[in-house]
């Protein structure tokens, strides 16, 4: 559809609806680069209509109902590949214990998009501004990847390899996201600003998780992840290092914000994005720290 992308029409393709993950993997392996997995379709079908992608084979995985789950066993939260963004945003256990992930999922798209799009699909799209990734990064998420050759676990940090490129090899598919319970004495949040309107692509997205030391006086560890300010979402390590083991003050949070901004490599609206990064990092850290202090009162 080169050059005719303006017609916004799907090209012709062949469609498979495998009944098992094994079947899906073997199809992926058989057709390699000519095949793409189709979950919610809100990213892939859009790219195909624009003429940016033209896979000859689509492997629809909606029939793999075993992959539609959200399970928490007290230690590990597991979200299956077919769990929609809306179901993750609404899940009581996620709202309660992994609140920033619920917030991030709720931010994506519109109600219709969230009913169709999956969390795993959002991660695998691997764009610079995937809202769900920063929260997952600070939560230490991992991806379970399956192929006919076996299984492996990829830490989310190692997953995006560049804009719209992932660490997946031929024949591999992500079957679930695994998220460990956040450490005790921790609180997190996801904050963002959009490009123009409220329902819009994220201009700068910031997820933080702060862990207090046993006295609740100092920050034992701070995790800061950003999206839409670099080719892929990333952890702002230098900003995090500034906070490790320190007592929290407004000045320190501002410094952390500035440090995070310096770690960004935005393309469009670069100066403004750097400014927003420093503002939002400070705001997110402040909110998370306030939440932590609130927790102290409860416990």
């Amino acid at each position: 559809m080169e050059g005719l992308g303006y017609l916004l029409a799907l090209p012709r393709f062949e469609y498979f609806s495998p009944k098992t993950v094994e079947e899906a993997c073997s199809l992926l392996e058989r057709y390699g680069r000519e095949a793409r997995l189709l979950a919610g379709g809100t990213d892939l079908l859009v790219a195909m209509k624009k003429g940016k992608e033209a896979p000859r084979y689509l492997i629809g995985i909606k029939a793999l109902s075993d992959l539609d789950f959200i399970e928490y066993d007290g230690e590990l939260l597991r979200i299956g590949a077919l769990a929609t963004l809306q179901s993750v945003a609404d899940a009581p256990i996620i709202k309660e214990k992994f609140g920033l992930l619920a917030t991030a999922c709720k931010k994506v798209g519109t109600p219709q998009v969230r009913n169709m799009g999956t969390l795993v699909g959002n991660i695998c799209n691997a764009g610079p501004s995937q809202d769900t990734v920063p929260s997952l990064l600070v939560l230490g998420a991992r991806l379970k990847v399956v192929s006919s050759r076996g299984e492996r676990i990829i830490p989310l940090e190692d997953f995006p390899r560049g804009p719209f490129k992932t660490a997946l090899e031929d024949g591999e598919m992500v079957t679930e996201v695994q998220i460990p319970t956040p450490p005790p004495r921790s609180a997190g949040c996801y904050r963002w600003m959009t490009k123009r309107t409220e329902v819009d692509e994220t201009l700068v997205g910031v997820a933080v998780l702060v862990v207090a030391d046993p006295t609740h006086e100092r920050c034992e560890e701070a995790r800061i992840a950003l999206c839409s300010v670099a080719p892929t979402p990333f952890r702002a390590r230098r900003a995090e290092a500034l906070l490790r083991g320190k007592g929290i003050s407004e000045g320190l949070l501002e410094e952390a914000g500035r440090a995070a901004a310096e770690e960004t490599r935005p393309r469009g609206r670069a100066e403004y994005r750097k400014l927003l990064t420093s503002i939002l990092v400070k705001k997110a850290l402040t909110e998370a720290w306030e939440n932590l202090k609130g927790q102290e009162v409860v416990s």
Binding site: L4, L7, E198, V199, L275
Partner: protein, 786 residues
């Protein structure tokens, strides 16, 4: 305020029922037997010569029924403007050159859409890219790429066909200039000499998209036996489409039927003839089958018009006592690769401002310049939003210099009822003064102005015509009485969301003393309905509504005449109410409409009762005023808007939140207050989009944000609080006192928001949209200048 039976009541829209059930027919819903689907091949270059087009592979593809290029169609000129001075400059398919990304190059009709698309892939076009120019000031320089050569009309021009009488002449394009305008009166030098405060500034307004929810679509079906062409398309005027289809296809107008169907929003983006409309008809004639062309949203952005880009150099002079003495406008209009509505928008940028302030010395100079970008046409206000953004801000700047409340400065200068404009238009109604006074009170203007804390309040004024002398120069209507005594109304107005079906029905019902439910309306069909000005000249109520009223009045006259005979009483002593006619004070002795109709048929040779009515926008003149000189009567009544916006700015991020917009509107007597409220709220929300984030962004002439992902329009979260203050004037010449309301407010809202932001941050922003970065930059600049 007079009390009416149905006028002035917020009655339910007559078209809402079919729209909430999904039954309403839009052009995209039309399916005809044996129908083909066509797709268009568009230029990927902003400027290139077409060296060769090879369609041989395309023709061989099974399912393809026709492939056409510029060679098949020929140099058939069309355009929005086609006057002796400015001959139309567009072609349905490019002939030797393409001039903007998205221009139509070839078309294929096939049995289904995917085949048509596959067929397009097989068309081989060899282009020779040419240097392109995208900035109008660059385009006017020596040595800039030449976008057009001499434009030689090969047919009569529209003006000639419409009776102006002067033949079209070749238009020699120099320095890429497509049109000029120069309007002046008084003595501009003298005006500035008498001014104590003079300010000047340059303002920039980008192109925006109408972004109506319905993408453009056409279904055309030509029958060779009868020579008739049936068309379904989205539009704002049957007459404009019918005339141009006739002219370009060589089919007599009476043989072209534009079928009635609903249009899904227009805002000015569906007025002029589009290439795809011609192409569908042409392909239908060629294949002998109906042809449907549905444009994608991206095609709509590229090829279905944008609003006009303008660079405005404005200078205003004010005397110490607050009287505005002089206004000098130098405007550069960038309509894109073809003239679009350039001469009109430049004229209107003047014509929509002159009714607002009484300024004795005025000079308005404009130049339209070709660039290799998408074509610009009217968008809701057509010149008023751009010019108001500049003028309303400059007035605020001068008020600040003078230490005067900007509302006060406006009160000292706004026109009043009875004023006569330099071109002869008379304001028989004008609610500006009372609007400003009411809004100052309602918004707490004085207390809020300059309150600091990054909260601001600002005002903007606008005016809008109520119809103008443009083809077909009049509206007419027919009211037919039925055997059951109810009435059927035929009007050429088309319902595209603005509520005309309801408003026209209310007018007819009021005149006849019936209820809204007693009127059946037949609208928007060129074969069933009489001529109409259409909905893009803002004359829906004032002109078409008046034609409807006169038709109902004519029917009423006949009813009374017959009733007087039946009852053997003088007409003058009869009363009409509720579908009955009776002597005043004696309702028992009366006759029903049904009885009158029956009597008339029986006793008067079969005469059923049919009323006809017609109305010219400006009774005293025959044609549109001179676009270049601005001389001549323009319209018979103006709608006025006073808008106040309240904003809050985050000084850290630069983000602007519009908290509230208040509008005092003068639309004369509202025909349907719910409709009026809907039109105003619509323009408030549109204004927020224009003011804060809407703009078409191009790279080397290509629109990079041609989707609703990348071009954002306001969603439900962007809606501010809206307060409506009807000013309750009465336009004596309008139907039941009504005039324009659908188009003027957008300009006032944008200006009010711009002025509110300036009040909030103490600094000015001279270009739209007012982005967070511009706000931060303005704040920075203010800090540095201290």
């Amino acid at each position: 305020m007079r009390q009416y039976r149905v006028i002035g009541k917020p009655l339910r829209r007559v078209d809402a029922g079919v729209k909430v059930t999904g039954e309403a027919l839009f052009a995209a819903d039309v399916k005809l037997p044996n129908m083909l689907h066509a797709k268009i091949l568009r230029s990927p270059y902003p400027h290139a010569r077409i060296l060769r087009i090879d369609t041989s592979k395309t023709e061989a593809l099974p399912g393809v029924k026709a492939v056409i290029t510029g060679k098949d169609v020929g140099p058939i000129r069309f355009g929005f403007v086609d006057t002796p001075r400015y001959p139309a400059d567009q072609y349905p398919l490019a002939i030797d050159k393409v001039r903007y990304v998205g221009e139509e190059v070839a078309a294929v009709a096939a049995t289904d859409e995917i085949t048509a698309i596959e067929a397009l892939k097989l068309i081989e076009v060899e282009y020779e890219p040419l240097p392109a120019v995208f900035d109008p000031e660059e385009a006017m320089k020596e040595g800039a790429p030449k976008i057009h050569d001499e434009i030689v009309p090969n047919t009569t021009c529209a003006w000639q066909d419409w009776g102006v009488g002067r033949a079209a002449r070749p238009f020699k394009v120099e320095r890429n200039i497509c049109a000029t305008t120069s309007i002046s009166y008084g003595d501009i030098e003298e005006g500035f000499a008498q001014s104590d405060y003079v300010r000047e500034a340059r303002f920039f307004v980008p192109a925006t998209s109408h972004a109506a929810m319905e993408p453009h679509v056409v279904v055309a079906s030509y029958d060779p036996t009868s020579g008739k062409l049936d068309v379904w398309l989205c539009h704002m005027s049957l007459a404009v489409k019918q005339y141009w289809l006739s002219k370009t296809l060589g089919i007599p107008q009476s043989k072209i039927r534009i079928h009635g169907c609903y249009t899904g929003g227009t805002f000015g983006g569906k007025i002029d003839l589009f290439a795809h409309e011609f192409l569908a008809a042409f392909l239908s004639m060629r294949t002998g089958r109906p042809v449907k062309i549905v444009l994608s949203r991206e095609e709509v952005f590229m090829a279905c018009r944008l609003s006009h880009r303008m660079i405005i150099d404005l200078r205003i002079g004010v005397r110490a006592d607050g009287k505005i003495m002089a206004q000098h406008v130098k405007l550069i209009n960038d309509p894109g690769a073809y003239r679009g509505s350039s001469p009109v928008v430049m004229f209107l940028a003047h014509a929509f401002r002159i009714p607002i302030y009484d300024i004795p010395n005025w000079k308005h100079e404009g130049v339209g310049v070709y660039t290799n970008k998408s074509i610009c046409m009217p968008r809701r206000g057509h010149g008023s939003p751009q010019m108001s953004f500049a003028a309303e801000q400059l007035l605020d700047m001068i008020a600040e210099d003078m230490g005067m409340d900007p509302a006060e400065l406006r009160l000292k200068n706004v026109r009043k009822p009875g004023d006569v404009l330099p071109n002869g238009d008379r304001l028989d109604s004008c609610g500006l003064r009372v609007g400003i006074q009411k809004i100052i009170e309602a918004t707490g203007w004085k207390e809020k102005r300059g309150r600091g804390n990054y909260r601001g309040i600002g005002m903007g004024l606008s005016a809008m015509f109520s119809g103008a002398m443009y083809y077909p120069f009049a509206s007419a209507a027919i009211v037919k009485l039925n055997p059951d005594g109810k009435a059927t109304l035929f009007t050429g107005q088309s319902e595209f969301g603005q509520g005309s079906d309801t408003a026209m029905s209310q007018i007819a019902a009021e005149e006849l003393g019936l209820d809204l439910e007693d009127i059946v309306i037949v609208s928007g069909d060129s074969e069933l309905c009489p001529i109409d000005l259409g909905g893009f000249l803002s004359g829906g109520v004032y002109v078409s509504g008046e034609a409807v009223r006169r038709a109902a009045e004519d029917a009423k006259r006949q009813l009374l005449q017959v009733a007087s005979e039946m009852l053997d009483v003088e007409i003058g002593s009869l009363q009409i109410e509720n579908g009955r006619i009776f002597p005043k004070g004696n309702p028992q002795k009366g006759v029903t409409f049904a009885e009158v109709v029956r009597y008339n048929i029986q006793k008067h040779n079969g005469d059923p009762i049919i009323g006809r009515g017609f109305c010219k926008p400006v009774p005293e003149v025959e044609f549109y005023p001179s676009l270049t000189k601005g001389a001549g009567r323009f319209t018979d009544a103006y709608g006025f808007i006073v808008a106040v916006a309240e904003v809050e700015v985050d000084p850290e991020t630069g983000r602007v939140k519009v908290e509230r917009v208040t509008i005092a509107d003068d639309c004369g007597q509202p025909i349907n207050p719910a409709n009026v409220h809907g039109q105003l709220l619509s323009q408030v929300v549109m204004g927020v989009g224009d003011a804060l984030f809407e703009e078409i962004v191009t790279e080397e002439g290509r629109i990079v944000n041609a989707s609703f992902e990348d071009y954002k329009i306001p969603g439900v979260y962007e809606v501010p609080e809206f307060v409506h203050i009807p000013t309750g004037t009465f336009e004596p010449k309008g139907p039941f006192g009504g005039k324009e309301v659908g188009e003027g407010a957008r300009a006032a809202v944008i200006a009010a928001i711009a002025n509110a932001v300036a009040d909030a941050i103490g600094a000015r922003i001279y270009s739209l949209p007012i982005t967070p970065e511009k706000v931060l930059e303005a704040l920075e600049a203010k800090k540095r200048s201290r």
